[in-house]
């Protein structure tokens, strides 16, 4: 029972994190591609309740930042100019969940923008970009993991169930896939594709590429489960009563693989989010100006950014709670869905 509660707990954490990203339009105060050319590399603004004179304000506020004279990226706080935060404010239009047109944001401000995580080289709000970027990166991870598991399930089930030369052939192909140097292959593959791809085709390309790459490992796991499941007594009994291949697979064998698949899913999603980030970091992902976590981090390829603007690292921290959530879910799923195996294995491995 305890493990069931942990699964629910992790699911709730992940659900909340994803809800923020899914509703990025609401939580993000600004349009992620809107440039504010007067404020490049604005450092993160701190929210205050107490002002410089010691007065308390009920409404959180930030101090406006001014460019220091004669510089182009050095700002100083103007403690005379308070920028109060306005909650539930109308601002840039967006589409919630992709269809519901809204203009309503969690917070905003009057004239001066409040950039909680600073701005990038073009004065775009990093906080908004981070939230919108999560949509692309997480969706790519989830869709990629989904397609991987689908391919893995089909190949693994076919190999395990039918056996013989089909099994041999499929597993050799899987080994081939495991042995390929994927990053280089991805780079080569992307280079073959047309020069300019729009953001949407580029996104599906990434999903297809990372989804097609990783199926070998889940396929082998599924094959193992299917191999043992098809020799179980109830499967033999069903076969004895005349059940066909399709019925057996659907009704008795594939349900056995669900624990493996769920655990794999929880492990693969963060892996594939990372894969998307790697591709985007290298400039092979969704093209600018659309944000994705990898795009945000690719600014760090420039030495001057690396040493001058520390807030450009922040997108790297954003994935930490997501990854922790997924890995926590994976381990509690494993515990819950295969308790006997864990018990049997752990004393041995500890010894």
């Amino acid at each position: 029972m305890r493990s069931r509660r942990t699964v629910v707990k992790w699911l709730a954490v992940l659900g909340a994190l994803h809800a923020i990203v899914v509703c990025a339009g609401f939580f993000a105060p600004y349009d992620p591609v809107e440039q504010d050319r007067k404020n490049p590399y604005l450092p993160p603004m701190q929210l205050h309740l107490l002002d410089a004179q010691g007065h308390f304000h009920l409404r959180p506020f930030a101090y406006a930042l001014k460019l220091r004279d004669g510089t182009f990226d050095q700002y100083e706080q103007d403690t005379n100019q308070l920028v109060p935060m306005r909650f539930f404010k109308n601002g840039a239009g967006y589409r919630l969940l992709g269809f519901l047109p809204l203009r309503f944001h969690l917070f905003g401000s009057e004239d001066t923008r409040i950039c909680l995580l600073g701005t990038d080289a073009y004065g775009r709000d990093q906080f908004s970009r981070l939230l919108y970027g999560g949509q692309i990166s997480l969706l790519a991870g989830i869709l990629g993991a989904g397609s991987t598991l689908l391919i893995g399930l089909c190949v693994g089930a076919a190999a395990g169930y039918f056996g013989g030369w089909k099994d041999d052939a499929l597993m050799r192909v899987a080994e081939l896939f495991l042995a390929l140097p994927w990053l280089y292959l991805l780079l080569a593959l992307r280079a073959f594709l047309p020069l300019s791809v729009g953001p949407l085709p580029a996104f599906f390309l990434i999903v297809a590429v990372i989804g097609a790459v990783g199926w070998a490992r889940p396929a082998r796991l599924v094959r193992g489960v299917v191999l043992s499941a098809k020799e179980r007594d109830f499967v033999r009994a069903a076969r004895g009563f005349g059940a066909g291949d399709g019925y057996l697979l659907r009704r008795h064998i594939l349900p056995e693989t669900s624990s493996v698949l769920l655990t794999q899913a929880a492990i693969l999603v963060p892996q594939y989010v990372l894969a998307e980030m790697t591709l985007s970091f290298l400039g092979l992902g969704v093209p600018e100006p659309a944000p994705s976590w990898g795009n945000l981090l690719s600014n760090l390829q420039q030495y001057s950014v690396l040493v001058s603007y520390w807030w450009m690292y922040l997108p790297a921290l954003a994935m930490v709670p997501f990854f922790l959530g997924y890995l926590g879910l994976a381990s509690s799923l494993q515990e819950r869905l295969a308790p006997s195996k864990i018990e049997r294995r752990s004393p041995g491995s500890l010894a």
Partner: protein, 530 residues
């Protein structure tokens, strides 16, 4: 067109006094003075330095060749620049010509004959003497169509090649078919080649195989301050002082003082900055504005000098090449827009050059509306009128050219051409140049305001060049050009290959009044109005 800007931040950062001495070699002297003996060396005024030392500088990558007849890439040219010498040299500080291997030259009253007298006692870096026959041979090779030397185009004046003849062992006459205002400037950078090493390969048609990095160091010679010593593949090229160099200091000591010049191959600008900071290299030339800020923040053991505006500029251009049947139908359709002058004018009016200067160059640049950068003191004219940035003006121009806007579901207007197709195109940039990628992103956002959908495509530099110059499969591109000479007539050959026939006639400011570079009528691929 873009224009962009650039004050090339050429910050020479120098460490140590010998670096200064080294630079002084390249700079120039006032009038040459005669040395008593039979050697007529060029005496450089200024401080007398101490001999010795070694200067390490970074090079973007391995030079492809040391042979000036083949070198087309900037790295090879940079190395060749210190290994070879020209008859007449342009002083980069004053932007005027100065005698180099030529002691003097006379121009005939009709302006068609240039009589050039060589210095006495000149020797190649292998110790063999130079005479008029070497000069004759050099120009014969440059002008030979079978050699495909990149310099050949420069030597065709009025449609005919320059002819060269010898008067005596030190005097050569160049005959032009037409007066040419910048004739003496074309000698700048034209290395005089060693006939004793090249004549045989030339006759055998094997010029391409000599002067490569595989050639033995003693099989190569030049007239520049340094000669080849050692090459370590993938790491460095070491040059040593040329003991026969033809410049001396005021005390008569032969220059250069620096014993060794080492080129380290450091592939990207950021790595060059790191190497410089760690002291592995002694000087760094032309850094990006952001790296300049980084280096100026904590100056340890070096000084930064802002050498002022340079001749480099970046620009946006459209593909106006006439590809005949080879172009894809899509490109042909888009070229119809690009060929529309008003379309290009609208693009030019929409580009926020000030923002580019501020965001890409941190203010260390200047907006341009033509090809002449502000560092060009002879040709620059900041009083020329230009159209200010105006989106309304851009929209009016587009409307006049038959474009219209359709409003999509997101209330974002999309620009449509007269056939009702949306205006979408891609801009190529070099993936290794962060500055240009930024410019492209700013232009992309500017054009979005006009309803144009622009994709920025970063490409590896070599495949970018290949697309621009060979296959010509591109729509628009942001590139930069570092001009070697102030005179726009003698522009970098790569611009010639992009722009086709240059539209600038010599010696007069023949620019369209608004500084737009082209109407494309003549240019094979004009730079778009920027």
């Amino acid at each position: 067109m873009k224009n962009l800007n650039a004050r090339r931040l050429c910050c020479w950062i120098l460490i140590g006094s010998f670096a200064l001495l080294f630079l002084s070699i390249g700079q120039a002297a006032n009038a040459p003075q005669r040395k008593a003996a039979k050697e007529e060396l060029l005496v450089l005024p200024g401080e007398v330095g101490k001999p010795g030392g070694r200067l390490v500088v970074a090079l973007r990558g391995e030079p492809k060749t040391l042979n000036p007849l083949i070198a087309a890439d900037a790295r090879s040219r940079e190395v060749i620049g210190v290994m070879q010498a020209d008859l007449v040299h342009i002083n980069r500080a004053t932007q005027l010509t100065e005698p180099a291997l030529a002691k003097s030259w006379k121009i005939s009253p009709d302006g068609l004959q240039y009589t050039v007298v060589l210095r006495q006692g000149l020797k190649f870096s292998d110790g063999l003497p130079l005479d008029a026959d070497d000069v004759l041979f050099t120009f014969r090779v440059y002008l030979d169509e079978n050699v495909h030397a990149p310099q050949r185009d420069l030597l065709i004046v009025g449609g005919k090649p320059i002819t060269v003849r010898k008067l005596d062992t030190r005097t050569v006459v160049f005959q032009l078919s037409k007066t040419y205002g910048v004739a003496e400037r074309i000698f700048d950078g034209l290395a005089i080649l060693p006939r004793h090493l090249l004549e045989k390969p030339y006759q055998e048609g094997k010029l391409g195989q000599i002067g490569t990095l595989a050639t033995a160091a003693n099989q190569w010679a030049g007239l520049g301050p340094f000669r080849w010593k050692e090459y370590v593949a993938g790491q460095r090229l070491v040059l040593e002082r040329n003991p026969y160099y033809w410049k001396t200091d005021v005390k008569g000591n032969r220059l250069p003082n620096v014993q060794e010049l080492v080129f380290l191959f450091v592939p990207n600008a950021d790595a060059q900055v790191l190497k410089f900071q760690s002291g592995e290299t002694d000087a760094i030339a032309s850094l990006g504005a952001e790296n300049f800020s980084v280096l100026s923040r904590e100056q340890r053991g070096y000084t930064l000098t802002d050498a002022g505006p340079g001749l480099e500029y970046n620009f946006l251009f459209f593909n106006l090449n006439d590809l005949g049947g080879k172009a894809s139908p899509e490109l042909t359709r888009k070229q119809k827009w690009f060929r529309e002058v008003k379309f290009r004018q609208a693009v030019s009016a929409a580009v926020d050059r000030e923002a580019i200067v501020r965001l890409v160059y941190q203010g260390r640049g200047a907006p341009l509306w033509g090809l002449v950068a502000p560092g060009n003191r002879r040709w620059g004219n900041d009083k020329l009128a230009h159209t200010p940035r105006s989106l309304e003006q851009a929209r009016t121009l587009l409307k006049q050219a038959g474009f219209s806007w359709s409003t999509g579901p997101d209330a974002e207007a999309t620009l449509m051409d007269s056939e009702g197709k949306p205006v979408e195109f891609s801009i190529l940039t070099s993936s290794s140049n962060a500055d240009r990628a930024k410019m492209a992103a700013l232009i992309q956002d500017d054009l979005k305001q006009l309803g144009m959908r622009v994709q920025v495509v970063p490409l590896e530099f070599r495949s970018l060049l290949d697309r621009i110059t060979q296959t010509k499969e591109y729509e628009a591109c942001v590139m930069g050009i570092a001009s070697l000479d102030a005179d726009p007539k003698r522009r970098h050959p790569s611009l010639e290959s992009i722009a086709g026939a240059s539209r600038y006639s010599v010696g007069s400011g023949d620019r369209p009044p608004d500084g737009r570079a082209n109407d494309g009528a003549h240019a094979r691929a004009a730079q778009a109005t920027l």
